[in-house]
Symmetry: D3
Subunit: 258 residues, 6 copies
């Protein structure tokens, strides 16, 4: 089984970190390829970044389908482009917010999310509502560390741990969900430090996709998520249109896969 994990920003070091977490989560016989787009923002910290990361993400989904991926993970906690990716892919597509939050519901009554910047917490609440988890999600907290600073700020780890501990102490949650793919390497350590299970969405999404593929389950394709109707596209995105055959969007200008 081949699972493609797409980091929708363009920062290769973050893709590497995500790939390591994903491979650690995958079971025997599952190969993981971690990729990122060649176009778009270096990090996703606003609705603007998120919207503009989606074309590159979709190009990677199409490339991964063409390259034989059995399923896909969208490795950004805003779950950008998830509905569009499900239309495009034959295999299942899972976002790390949906996977992280859903996995947390199996661990108790409630969870809290700890993320990077306060301006992104609204998006996390949007997703919790859409996934039916408004009651289960008790709080979304931000440590005010920029996404790319997670790798470089020596204080990042301690601040995240402190916030997780505070969520447990004040909200009484049964679990924590980490709100950024760039925190994927922290879950095990934090689980020990804060005393409740800490869920990394990347790992959660990998095991979820793995399970779906093993069970032969993929997106229902008879209605809303049927392949998008082919049509002319123009301008810099012209390659996304055209006459799809089999996999959608054969005219997509090739995007290098890492």
């Amino acid at each position: 089984m081949l699972i493609q994990v797409v980091n929708p920003n363009t920062t290769a070091s973050m893709t590497d970190l995500i790939g390591r977490s994903a491979r650690a989560a995958a079971g025997p016989g599952t190969a993981v390829v971690a990729v990122n787009p060649a176009m778009g923002p270096v990090s996703i910290e606003s609705h603007y970044d998120e919207a503009l990361a989606v074309p590159g993400l979709l190009a990677q989904i199409a490339a991964g389908e063409a390259g034989g991926a059995d399923g896909h993970v969208v490795a950004c906690f805003g779950d950008p482009g998830l509905d569009a990716a499900r239309e495009l892919a034959a295999g299942p597509v899972v976002g790390i917010a949906e996977a992280g939050m859903r996995v947390a519901t199996h661990l108790g009554r409630s969870f809290g999310v700890v993320t990077t910047l306060a301006r992104t917490t609204g998006r996390a609440w949007d997703l919790a509502a859409r996934y039916g988890l408004r009651e289960h999600c008790r709080t979304v907290r931000a440590v005010e560390i920029a996404v790319l600073a997670l790798e470089t700020d020596p204080a990042a780890r301690a601040r995240i741990a402190a916030e997780c501990a505070d969520v447990v102490a004040t909200e009484g949650v049964d679990a924590i969900v980490l709100g950024c793919a760039g925190m994927a390497d922290l879950a095990a350590e934090l689980t020990v430090r804060v005393g409740v299970p800490v869920v990394d969405g990347v790992a959660a999404a990998v095991v979820t996709v793995e399970g779906l593929v093993r069970l032969g389950l993929t997106t229902g394709k008879r209605g809303e998520f049927a392949p998008p109707p082919p049509k002319p596209y123009s301008g810099p995105l012209a390659g996304f249109g055209g006459e799809p055959s089999g996999a959608h969007a054969p005219h997509l200008s090739p995007v290098p896969t890492r």
Copy 2:
């Protein structure tokens, strides 16, 4: 006052129709400019189309801001890119789904939506839920006419009228909301034919933006909708990044405004 109405697809004849409806709705002293992007799909009929229409839409928002627009309408019933546009623009930004549905709530207890393709009804429900209108919206019906066929199919008008009448008869709604900007010219005629008010989202959004501008109200900018943090972008979307000064995204490659 100058209001920019952005049709997020690339079909100029539809932009013309939208512009006529918008100008008819505007009050004395309000100028309306209707534009569409130079990149993206010719129509929006899937999550995939919608996602890929957003970059062009955002370029138009930025261009409109630079061109002195006091406020903006996003003229597609999926309200694509609305959150990102609110981050980007200094003036208010209103989508035609949110405006159409909210206006309908002032006309009674409940409304129904009549739209183009069944595969887009899920998005309409998503928006109704996000705007808090799940209880007010009783049904979302599709006539299965493609967006661009609204202009060319001689049977379109009659089928839409029949569906509206059926919604009133079977659901007892107090109002109808038209679920596509391409239906903007039908509201007045349908109001007479079906006997309840029929709301065109384009007109609703124009009067909403006009009111906001007159009252000096615009997006709150101290939190989630502050201007997006500037950062490097790469590939075909590189122009969307850079170091914004004043209005965001000065390096946006110029997009012709109609």
Copy 3:
């Protein structure tokens, strides 16, 4: 276009203030008449006051209809008698709570309400729930200043400003909605002081009604909001019954309009 703004209490100085705000919000070509009933309480600060303000309000709605008003604003934040007024009037009727809260939803994700007395906050929550805005409304705060003291208490302005600032600081809302028609003159000043848009419901309702009238939209009249069936009324309210012709309630004892 003629818009009637009804202050449902009997205090003329407050009607004057509301009228000034309403006229400032109206666009070119729109005339505004502000009136109040000749019967009922001097201010509305309880469910009891609200219930007993409604007969006078409805008499004014009927008088306004007879006097050629194209639409009506109910200028009390409890939106008293709104459903009954919609049955009675041919033109659209909008309450200042519904208009204020709905306008606020176009300005970001969330808002807070700042109102007069704590005992009225329950009614504000009722309305937020009915309008589908429980999630958008983060808090309803009271400054414990009686309605009529808004005009006379020299500390009122500062206390309201302080409460608004605290709501922004502690709740992170994108906008504030003022929870009393008697605060209508404060919105512009507070917007500057607290750094997020502050919405006056009177102004919001005026532009909303203006938009509805311009678009030819009014209450759906085929079901719940059809004119009330005529029938005998007795006692001091006998004038509200009778055999309506054209406009309902022709036997209403005349109520002087300011």
Copy 4:
């Protein structure tokens, strides 16, 4: 124990019917007095009627308090004026919609409401939502018989029975709630005919008030439902204002109690 049951319309024959049902429901040692206002509409079939029935209702509540009633029932399925009555009365006040629907929840998972006119079903849904029973209430059906015709239309009983049977057959509800005080005499017969428990709100409210009084429970009076602040009232409703002492509103012009 003395329970006052207020029929908020002015039709004495309906008050008699309500009184008989109420007395049949009361336990040993409980006296029931059934009254109706001397002012207002002969029946309540619109938001307009309901709003204009409230002053007369409140006068009866005040008179009942003065006359030694230990608790009150508001015997109209719209629960008109309930919040205001709770402010006014020292004893508990219960509406027949809230009592009927809450009692039904003890009888299974779901119930349906069968009422008079379709235009009143919106109000029933409003109340179900406010009482938290949107999920428990599966349908609200109207037989399109006017309130006063319940007494005179020989076909009324059969049509109501047929509608109840249809609700059970098509919705699978565990219970039926009758949606009008004028149906109070039908519950026992209908329970036998349709095979599920049929709840009369008048009887349900009587036993509810009786239980509250016996347990010494009444409206919490420290916040929203404290006695309304006294203040000047003018016009035909001037008697509702004044300086209350002990029971509120001593200047209420006397209203004869049946």
Copy 5:
């Protein structure tokens, strides 16, 4: 009328206390018998205890039906086994959480629950959600006193009173619901001390069942709550199976009734 109150734990002294409260709540002509199972836990303080108390509870319900009880109260705030008991019994069955919370809704807008151990608060929220009372229930607080320590801990009464007072002060609720049958004797005293009505669920359930029986209302038996289909059971619970005739479960090994 005979009402059986079942304390689902095996502690006789607590059954006595519950019985006293129940008898004090019952009206003239109503007999109350308070019983507890001969099997199961001495107190219910976890989901585990609650699940294992249900067989004993159901045996008591069956015994009470055989013994002529007209209705039943389940006297544990988790409302254990309520759905199963409704299938089993011909008469109505009411839990003390549902009765306590529903009664509280007649006393104002909101209530708070004060209970024993924090680990049981999740169950209280589950029930509030199921009964549609998430909005009405503002908080669930625990005093961290074990159930059986309520009888023996001399500080219990003061701690419960302090918590009730704090709920009123900080949440502004209109009423308090006591979250344990073992607190049944405290309601009257606490009502005086904290200044808002304090509801004991046992008393609330007794008057609720009494009202249902008087009105001839019981569980709807045509669907979900029809008698359970008889079938073989094995092991220590074998007596719960068999071929029911009339009342279900005639082969239940006799359980002594106190």
Copy 6:
């Protein structure tokens, strides 16, 4: 890794079927043991059966923990005893309803449930609500085939297939969830026949538990789901009490594991 799958009824042939499905779903290196209790009902078709199946289920959970199971599946669509099992077990515990419904949410917007008897559909809705999936679950349909007849009724397979097809045709769902562990062998065949993914909860729960164990995630144990406090139990369930050491409930009378 060892996963214990507990069929909570006592029918060994059904346990065999469940075990085969579970083993087919498990990945390389995962051992599955399928067991059922020695006490309780032969099938679960009522709230009564479900309640009385829980003691046997909990005994199996305790036995499985003692026997080295890393995680547990509760293989009945009512998810009986799930909260209690989570208190009892150190490893993760997942129900087939929660797993089946959550997996379905990754496959599109909506799903329908097809189950055995109509009287159990209420429980399915309860669970959907608790898991936050009321909006995602569009319908719960019953084929009116008793649980044990699934193995013996030659028409069962065709009727289930027909109901699934009807759900897709009339509700437009993206996926189907099978509502009984006894249908575990039908999912693959039905996926082909009805054209949307059909989810077997047993398989879904196995891959879910497998993922949790691989990621080192288990129930949060610091609050509601801490081990239940030990205490005396009496009667036939006395073995469930006692003084737990390490794993809870060492005095549980041994229950043979298949």
